[in-house]
Symmetry: C2
Subunit: 406 residues, 2 copies
């Protein structure tokens, strides 16, 4: 007997048949003696359809009114799912974000959950009702409806699990867990039984979008036991925890690829103190996140700085840097958007020297040229040509998962 929070995404509740499937998963969890709180996204394309309606009326509608509109999508899902469970004879109640006590700040469209006032949910659980809560939404201090932005329903689920001290928070998706690499690139990639929060965070930021970072950060902060699992297969998924308890700990948990990046190089910068500060504070002011940075050792009186940014920030960065060419004092700028970042992630890496070297060896044997390198406690990233990216993932995966393999 425990408390389980289960979150289902939009594709899991896209039609009547799938809602019935979700209801039967919930029912099984409840019948096993658990209290169950469910978080749902909007059905399939509902959110996109609503956005299209709004666009037709006013392409510059306020975010406040957009949130008012979009929040109806989840309200439809939760009531329909509750009806399905009623039809199966279970006590159930659906709740909107405000009814469930989800309080956020006022950043319409990308609100942050500030706290969960859980009285109502606890009262419903006390009478053994299944509680179905709208994901992705809450209310702010003005009692206006807010939405949480991308990955919002995952965050809703983790926030509820934290507030209710749930024993488990299951995130049902259309994949059945976290893999050592993208199975579309590496057919023999393996599903991980467990992974740490930090590894999950690195993997998410590296392009393996299974869970949104905000939800994983929240889970780490409140030590919520997460599980990524498929609503279609009903197989065990991947557990995300603080400490992974596998006996033979893998040095490396996974290999990830990110192609949504671009590289900028400023060539011939005057080699004077504070030049890096000038470049990167300029980009920070424009809200641009910089990832890998490479600064050449000064020769003559100049040096070069290269860095990667998200492709979507490329034009903003280019314009800002061009306008500042005189004050920064560089000779010219080169830009490449045909690059990719390939990374290995693993909590076991910190205490295992040689992991990075093993990765470089694999790439060398594959004749793959490395442009930039970046390392942290639990990851090693390299920048390669985008044409080499999939092969890089394959050779690196082959190296680690045949040598140190489980």
């Amino acid at each position: 007997m425990g408390l389980v929070v289960q979150k289902f995404g939009g594709s899991s509740v896209a039609n009547t048949e799938r809602i019935r499937n979700v209801a039967s998963i919930i029912a099984d969890t409840y019948k096993a003696g658990n209290n169950v709180v469910v978080v749902l996204s909007a059905q399939g394309d509902t959110t996109d359809d609503l956005i299209a309606k709004a666009q037709e009326i006013n392409p510059h509608a306020s975010k406040r009114e957009m949130d008012m509109l979009l929040s109806t999508g989840e309200q439809i899902s939760v009531s329909l799912c509750a009806m399905a469970l009623e039809g199966m004879g279970f006590p159930v109640v659906s709740l909107t974000g405000w009814q469930a006590g989800i309080r956020t700040n006022s950043a319409y469209g990308s609100a942050r959950i500030k706290r969960v006032v859980s009285e109502r949910i606890l009262a419903e659980l006390d009478r053994r009702s299944i509680v179905i809560v709208t994901g992705f939404q809450g209310i702010n201090k003005y009692d206006d409806i807010t939405t949480l932005g991308r990955g919002g329903s995952d965050t809703s689920a983790v926030a509820l699990a934290a507030a209710l001290h749930a024993d488990l928070c299951q995130i049902y998706t259309d994949v059945d867990g976290v893999y050592t690499a993208d199975p579309r690139i590496v057919p023999d990639a393996r599903k991980l039984e467990e992974i740490t929060y930090d590894e999950m965070l690195e993997l998410a930021s590296l392009g393996a979008q299974v869970l949104h970072n905000r939800s994983v950060e929240l889970a780490k902060q409140y030590n919520v036991n997460l599980e990524v699992v498929s609503s279609f297969t009903r197989q065990p998924g991947t557990k995300v925890k603080e400490v992974v308890k596998t006996v033979e700990k893998l040095h490396v948990s996974g290999v990830a690829k990110d192609t949504k990046i671009a590289r900028i190089a400023l060539v011939g910068l005057l080699d004077q103190p504070g030049i890096a500060y000038k470049v990167f504070s300029l980009l920070a002011k424009k809200g641009i996140n910089v990832d890998i940075i490479l600064q050449s050792i000064g020769r003559d009186e100049t040096k070069d700085i290269s860095f990667t940014i998200s492709k979507s920030d490329l034009e903003t960065a280019r314009t800002a840097l061009e306008e500042a060419q005189e004050s920064l004092g560089y000779d010219h700028m080169t830009i490449s958007d045909s690059v990719a970042k390939v990374s290995i992630v693993g909590a076991g890496m910190a205490n295992n020297p040689g992991v990075a070297a093993t990765m470089f060896e694999a790439l060398y044997n594959g004749s793959i040229n490395i442009h930039m390198i970046s390392t942290s406690e639990i990851k090693v990233s390299v920048l390669v040509d985008v044409a080499d990216a999939d092969r890089a993932v394959q050779v690196v995966h082959e190296k680690f998962f045949s040598e140190f393999g489980r």
Copy 2:
């Protein structure tokens, strides 16, 4: 400068073009210096579509979950309409039933408004925002969403007008006012400039469904100035008031027809005290409203009782009366559902003897047979064969509106 509440039905907001039309009516009212509170129904077929979704999942869904589902329809309308007004440069805010402070009892699916907590709306009006409120819905004491049932949005509008002491409450529909008869039956029927609450109540209950009775009752109770007006023509509509101020007061305001009725006759009842009580208390227990009652003068030791009820109650009534044949002690029962009620309504009737006789004269001249008669202070109703109903409306309308015509 005043406060105007404007209510628009589902057909008035069915698509982008119509929402723009509604927005321009609202904008004109606002630009004339008024504060404006708007109440909207769900777009076109939205409610029916949501009901169909629910039916597919669970044909016996609880009313609580149905209300949760259906209330999204109005939330979509109000946010889209607010976006349209934003696009035109007006300050505007949309509010759900709970945000607007509409508190109801807990009769899901047919809730009654108990009070309106108007602080939020007043604060928005203070900063000269246009306020767009979801019709048809509120919340109960458990903070659960309720819907008001048929005619609910009209009731929401009148309740808000009463709570806010609005100067005028305009109900925009697809007809442009209240007519002396249904223009489809009587092509030269005239639009009334004004009508009293009581006349409107009688007309509504007699089958001229322009406004739902609940909204008119509420308007009468709080003396709300109502106006029925078309969102398509922008012509003056019909005002509904306590006292009609026209100089030459019409004896008769309108002629109405109701075909959704049936007649039951109990023949050969024992002529003993309390028999009428027994018959009608039996029907009352089943929740059946009885309209016209005709009791024959006793002859021998038996008498007959005939009465009309709504067609939708016919089977329930038949079964109940058959089961009670022995205890009521009647000989046999005859049932006719091919009858119609034709009525004249007019506040001026009470002080004008001969109005009823004039109606009967018109029907006699038209060779239309009258089965039953019922009168009140402001109406005269007759029961005729359904085949005669339209002609009855025509000859009666002709009689009154050529003899006493405006």
